[in-house]
């Protein structure tokens, strides 16, 4: 598949190349729920003193992926619901940590399996995602291919080049580690289609690795999406899982396998049009969001976990930075209502259509709010959603089929190819929540399939029992 659709929205408030360390916090709030994990099996007791890298909780549905303690401290399970609170933090030093695998001697001969277990236990495995399902793959499985992406195009998330500039050597070492986990499966490196000194330098470094295939990606959102990349390469879903790893993941893998240290530190972006000073921050999971908000946000903003197009709203109940957080975005709240805004020439507006005077000048970043900027209307089939859709499906058609509740047709029109990039909802002049409808519909389809499978299993069991009676 060729790259198609996509749209680069220019917004004010992108993080610059700066990387800052945060002030130490007195208290850490570790949320038990993150985007794809639910750490429901708590492994520590209230009041217990834990050391750095100790397992606080596990997600039994996802191969026991651990929630690691980012610091030494005392566990408080009662203070905030839905969180494990760490108090009385003492300076835990990552250097003093030693990884102990009591099963290591058993697995020594197995090689890659033991390495993968190590990755899982040290919290590096959660950076690996299946390209098609966006879930963490089975650590003991072998993929059909691995895609490493250095491109990050969603507005306001951590830029791959910021991480690479920090640690190019670790990155290449991480690639080697990653390759050692594979058995001759191809590895693709998605690289931005740009010419700069830094890009040339990285390319020079990669040239030595014959097993890495370079794919050049045009810098247009959301071509960095792993599903789009695998479809671009021509990897079929039916031929096995595809691992997608971004720069952060490669660095975590290097950290876990080279120095056997737990991956508790992460780099996130704090940005958006509502940020007073967009930066990259080095911190640990559980860092209080209120502290970040106080230091980097303007007044009257909403806080989002993730990027502006695909993130989730952080409510007041969310106290700490979740485990999988890649960025925190601040967006100013919509407070004032513009007078006759729809007939103004619109020099200050950036739109996908060319309906504003601003389309006569070159593109400029726009300072936006969280306003919907219009009223909900029926779809007029303007076709903008189809133009921007990178997956090659027809959002307007799907919307109408969902409205008719025709689930079979929705499946036929390949709702499963939707990568949930959010562009269709963004450009829709009728302000229809297309992405949200598709997400809900996918859930419904999944549930129906589960029910159907359960019923089929019941039926089969019944038939087997009947046939047994017959033979008896």
């Amino acid at each position: 598949m060729r790259f198609r659709g996509g749209y680069n929205i220019k917004f004010d408030g992108k993080p610059d190349g700066l990387l800052k360390d945060v002030k130490r916090s007195e208290i850490l709030y570790l949320p038990l729920k993150s985007r794809s994990f639910d750490f429901s099996t708590v492994c520590v007791d209230h009041g217990q003193r834990v050391g750095l890298g100790e397992v606080l909780a596990k997600d039994s549905n996802h191969y026991d992926v651990p929630l690691l303690s980012p610091s030494c401290g005392v566990v408080n399970l009662e203070k905030t619901p839905g969180h494990i609170t760490l108090e009385d933090l003492s300076a835990g030093d990552v250097k003093s940590y030693t990884y102990q695998d009591d099963q290591e001697h058993i697995h020594k001969n197995v090689g890659s399996a033991s390495l993968k277990r190590k990755l899982l236990n040290l919290g590096a495995w959660e950076f690996v995602k299946d390209a098609y399902t966006d879930r963490m793959p089975d650590p003991l499985s072998t993929p059909q291919a691995v895609i490493v992406s250095t491109v990050q195009l969603e507005p306001f998330l951590v830029r791959g080049d910021v991480l690479l500039k920090e640690s190019l050597r670790q990155f290449t070492r991480g690639l080697e580690h990653l390759q050692s986990l594979l058995e001759y499966q191809p590895m693709y490196l998605a690289f931005p289609k740009i010419t700069s000194d830094f890009a040339a330098k990285i390319k020079e470094q990669i040239r030595g690795y014959a097993w890495v295939k370079l794919i050049e990606v045009p810098l247009k959102y959301p071509y960095d999406n792993f599903e789009i990349l695998s479809r671009h390469i021509g990897l079929k879903r039916s031929q096995g899982s595809i691992w997608g790893v971004n720069v952060e993941g490669v660095l975590a893998i290097d950290n876990a396998l080279t120095s056997s240290k737990p991956c508790v530190e992460r780099i996130i972006s704090v940005a958006g049009p509502g940020a007073s000073q967009p930066v990259h921050l080095r911190l640990t999971a559980g860092y209080p969001i209120s502290a970040i908000k106080e230091a980097y946000s303007l007044e009257n903003t909403i806080t989002i976990n993730g990027g502006m197009l695909t993130g989730r709203l952080l409510e007041d109940d969310d106290k700490g930075v979740p485990a999988e957080c890649r960025g925190i975005t601040f967006i100013p709240e919509h407070l004032s209502r513009e007078f006759l805004g729809w007939v103004r020439p619109g020099f200050d507006r950036q739109s996908y259509s060319a309906s504003f005077m601003s389309s006569l000048c070159s593109l400029f970043p726009e300072r936006v709010t969280n306003a919907i900027r219009g009223e909900l209307r029926p779809c007029v089939s303007c076709g903008f959603c189809e133009d921007v859709c990178p997956a090659g499906i027809m959002p307007h058609r799907l919307h109408k089929l969902i409205y008719q509740d025709d689930i079979d047709a929705v499946e036929q029109f390949r709702i499963d190819l939707c990568v949930e990039c959010g562009l269709c909802s963004f450009v829709c002049p009728s302000k229809i929540e297309l992405m949200q409808q598709f997400k809900d519909m996918k859930q419904t389809i999944l549930k129906e399939k589960e029910i159907a499978a359960a019923e089929a299993a019941k039926e089969a069991a019944k038939k087997a029992a009947e046939s047994q009676v017959d033979t008896e």
């Binding site: 598949m1 917004f11 479809r231 909403i302 989002i304 502006m308 197009l309 695909t310 993130g311 709203l313 709240e333 919509h334 209502r337 513009e338 007078f339 006759l340 729809w342 007939v343 619109g346 507006r349 950036q350 739109s351 996908y352 259509s353 060319a354 309906s355 504003f356 389309s359 969280n370 306003a371 919907i372 900027r373 219009g374 009223e375 909900l376 209307r377 029926p378 007029v380 089939s381 303007c382 076709g383 189809e386 090659g392 027809m394 307007h396 029109f413 390949r414 190819l417 959010g422 562009l423 909802s425 963004f426 450009v427 829709c428 002049p429 009728s430 302000k431 929540e433 992405m435 949200q436």
Partner: protein, 361 residues
Amino acid sequence: MKLLFQLFEKVSPIFKEGGKLSFMRPLYEAMENFFFAPSARTLCAPFSRDPLDIKRYMTMVIIGLLPCVAASIYFFGLRVIPMIIVSYMAGGVVEVAFAVIRKEEIAEGFLVTGLIFPLVLPPTTPLWMVAIGCAFGVFVGKEVFGGTGRNLFNPAIVGRCFLALAYPAAMSSSWVEPGHGITGRLLQYVTSANVEAITSATPLIHAKHGLFEDASHLVLGSIPGCIGETSGLMILCGGIFLLMTKVANWRTVASILVSAAVLETILNAVNPDQYAPAMWHIFAGGMLFGAFFMATDPVSSPSTNEGKWVYGILIGAITILIRNFSGYVEGMMFAILLGNIAAPIIDEMVFSVRLRLLRNE
């Protein structure tokens, strides 16, 4: 501005649920959102949206039509203005009535229908006929199907078609000879009583008898014809503006014009005495106006880009066939109606091809 906002705040309880005038809520909301940007905020991702909304989208079409309106006032006189007002009022009443009955918001689509409709009528049409036609078009062409976004036909064409069938004499025999002076008929109010201004034939009627008007008159618009359709130059100005804003799809326009031109070129080559040259036909009658402003209506045209090509080719070809081989002088209206009927079928065909391609992904 502040005073107005306070006024809205003050009267809003009357229209809220349980208030005295709660059944008029759609009208109140439309007025409030007309003056002040809606207060709604995003609740789910993406957390910010494109500034374009349907109001702006429809405004672009209205801006695109303004050159035609200006040209029509210049050529046919001030009577165009009351026609537009009556058309807006009739369409608006139907739209608001349906919004109130359905308890839905008032959609902005009638702002375009109300302006396009008088532009496709002869300049002498009585005002009551304008009102009936527009109301019929909005009612049967749109509201019966469920309102904006669900209509099968372009409402303005349904209204025009109704008038053409119900009052054929008024719709086809009495035209206004445009003013040829510098001021045109700018300061005149021409009705069917002004005998000196009335003519019985348009260039297309002459063409039936093998008399072809000078093409330069067609481009400028100094010919008898429907109000907004005569001035090719002004239609091109507004139409190209629409294409540039991405509100009208260029595929529809290009395929209509190219297919009509190709077919007519062939006919012209066969018998130049009977069939006019391609460029003449493109500028004559409602071809340009229909291609730029009526066929491009996104709701009633196919929703796929490939479908738009087929749709355009169909309209262009049918227009030329009707103009040259049937008793009717103008074919654009029927061609677009036929295109509207074919649009869902064209879409289905494109869908089936696309699904076959998607199946392998």
